[in-house]
Amino acid sequence: MSRFLSPDQLLIDRISHNDTEAFEQIYHLYWKSLYLYCLKKIESSEDAKIIVRSIFTDIWEKRHALPVSFCLSKHLYQEVRKKVIKCIFEKLAVLESRKSIEERLTIEFSVLSLQAARRPVSKSFTIINKPSELIRQQSGQAGTVHHNNFETLRWIFQSLIDKFSFTNLLSYSKN
């Protein structure tokens, strides 16, 4: 296993060896952003759940056929967009849901509202140098400043344990 693999690639590698924990780790990492994206686009919690479920079910079922150059974030990005479009397409075929979609999409497909997609992404982009900053951003405490909080200590402790278990594995494989 190369040490230049990204955390996502390591998890995918573990999934291909039927590691269910790695699969759940990926799920916990990405489900929320996928779900919220679907909810924004479809405005139906049930459909959003179905899309998230089908994306992760596909990953698990195709785990042995994933290519070496498989990029998880890229795959999720493409899949969620594809499935959202398919869902709307299927909903438009049903008379009951057609009207609500028509009302909403007439506004959303207007030129003015689509201009937002053309804005540069770098508007609120900041480079994260420290792990403490990353943890604060992920836990929604971006504004507060306390460097040595419990989350930071936990993160350091967890990374030490991971390193320890990894070195143990290496020494075991050498023996």
Binding site: N18, Y35, Y37, W60, I85, I88, T106, L114, A117, Q158
Partner: protein
């Protein structure tokens, strides 16, 4: 936009037969994520579990690949 027009447009997009302008319009719509949907922490954790359970029942992976027992020191560190 009428639903019939949108339906035909999406059909072309799904089949890969749409015009470049149509593709750009749909992709722009897909990239628009300005609105934020609120989700309370309780609701979030419930949903997280619910979807995971659905995935587990669909794939049945806990049945085929049950979890291995952790080492004692891993159990202790998990408490922190």
């Amino acid at each position: 936009m009428k639903s019939e027009i949108l339906h035909r447009k999406l059909e072309r997009y799904v089949n890969g037969e749409s015009m470049p302008a149509e593709t750009r319009q749909i992709q722009n719509w897909l990239s628009c994520t300005s609105k934020e949907a609120p989700l309370s922490p309780e609701e979030r954790s419930l949903l997280e579990l619910e979807i995971l359970q659905e995935i587990q029942s669909f794939t049945a992976y806990p049945l085929f690949f049950p979890r291995k027992k952790k080492a004692w020191w891993q159990k202790i560190t998990a408490m922190f």
